[in-house]
């Protein structure tokens, strides 16, 4: 790559230039073989990608997602549990197991501190301050799950 206008070729291809800038690029391309080739390849790449079959969301997955309110939070819990020490995870999974299934899907679901923690995208290595903080988090989550569970039974 030697031509210094290649970035403009990308912007041109992406429709990110003003009409004046577009004309300038168009006249440059007629004179510069390198940019002409780049533009042709960018078009080829976009065409290739656009012809690939689009992923369609299967109906069954859509249904699962619609019903995922509780499943999703449980999974987040299990994922967190996977990062924890065995002791902390046991507290947490125990709480999940005793939780009653929700009837009708309508509950007084209250977003809780641990849910916010659970979905905060922090890698486990950075999230863990040590086994004790995990145990505290697990106890927290377990307490909250019991609260939800009693709420469901009301």
């Amino acid at each position: 790559m030697t031509c210094e206008r290649t970035h403009e070729i990308h912007r041109y291809h992406d429709g990110e230039l003003s009409p004046t800038e577009r004309s300038a690029v168009e006249s440059h391309v007629t004179a510069c073989a390198e940019c002409r080739r780049l533009l042709a390849e960018l078009r080829g790449l976009s065409l290739l990608i656009s012809r690939m079959p689009r992923t369609v969301l299967p109906e069954v997955v859509l249904r699962r997602l619609s019903e995922c309110r509780h499943a999703a939070t449980d999974r987040a819990v299990l994922r967190i549990a996977g990062w924890m020490t065995a002791a902390a995870a046991a507290v947490l999974i125990g709480a999940l197991l005793i939780r009653q299934p929700v009837v009708g899907g309508e509950t007084n679901h209250r977003p809780s501190v641990w849910e916010t923690v659970a979905v905060t995208p922090t890698p486990p290595s950075e999230a863990a301050d040590g086994p004790n903080s995990e145990l505290v988090l697990a106890q927290w989550m377990a307490d909250d799950l019991s609260w939800q569970s009693s709420g469901d039974l009301r």
């Binding site: 992923t55 369609v56 209250r110």
Partner: protein
């Protein structure tokens, strides 16, 4: 935007109908991005589910549209999942793991002994780092503008441009035979 905030508020309060409205409205769009980023259906479903969980947890504050915010979470989650796998395969450079696979050119269909070796998007994206994969999907598959990508990924527009250009450079080298 006000509607988005209200919808997110209802969902965070546990309104199942509001949650279904959101899923009906955004699941297809998010799944398309997730599938392209993850390369498989199971991981795509997990990613979309985890993205919706963030709304349940009441984290939406209305700084952008709900869709932009959802894409932001989805792309970050996908990047985190990919990055650990990525690090195992590629020695990261100082710029934070943006190095793509060495450009080994992929054989074109005509070169592969008469088989109908169809290239798919997942295969094409395999050669890219998570950051580069995200910009290619958002631009080439979803058609977002530079500005929209900058907002969705939470990085400056200049960063979007340099990632996009470098990602395309890697793909052009690798798939040259397909581009004529």
């Amino acid at each position: 935007m006000a509607d988005d905030i209200e919808l997110a508020r209802l969902i965070a309060r546990g309104d199942a109908a509001a949650f279904r409205v959101l899923v009906d409205r955004e699941a297809r769009y998010l799944y398309g991005i997730a599938h392209a980023l993850a390369g498989n259906a199971a991981e795509a479903e997990d990613l979309v589910q985890e993205t919706f969980v963030a709304v349940l947890a009441g984290r939406f504050r209305g700084e952008s549209s709900l869709r932009t915010w959802l894409v932001q979470i989805l792309v970050r989650r996908a990047g985190m999942l990919r990055r650990s796998a990525w690090r195992r395969r590629v020695r990261t450079s100082l710029d934070g793991g943006q190095t793509d696979h060495p450009a080994t050119e992929v054989a074109t269909p005509s070169q592969t002994l008469g088989t109908e070796a169809r290239l798919d998007l997942a295969t094409m994206l395999e050669c890219l780092s998570p950051e580069h994969r995200a910009v290619i999907v958002l631009r080439e598959v979803e058609g977002l503008t530079y500005e929209e990508m900058a907002e969705a990924l939470g990085v400056p527009r200049g960063t979007i441009e340099s990632r996009l250009h470098r990602a395309r450079e890697a793909m052009r080298k690798r798939f040259r035979g397909y581009l004529q």
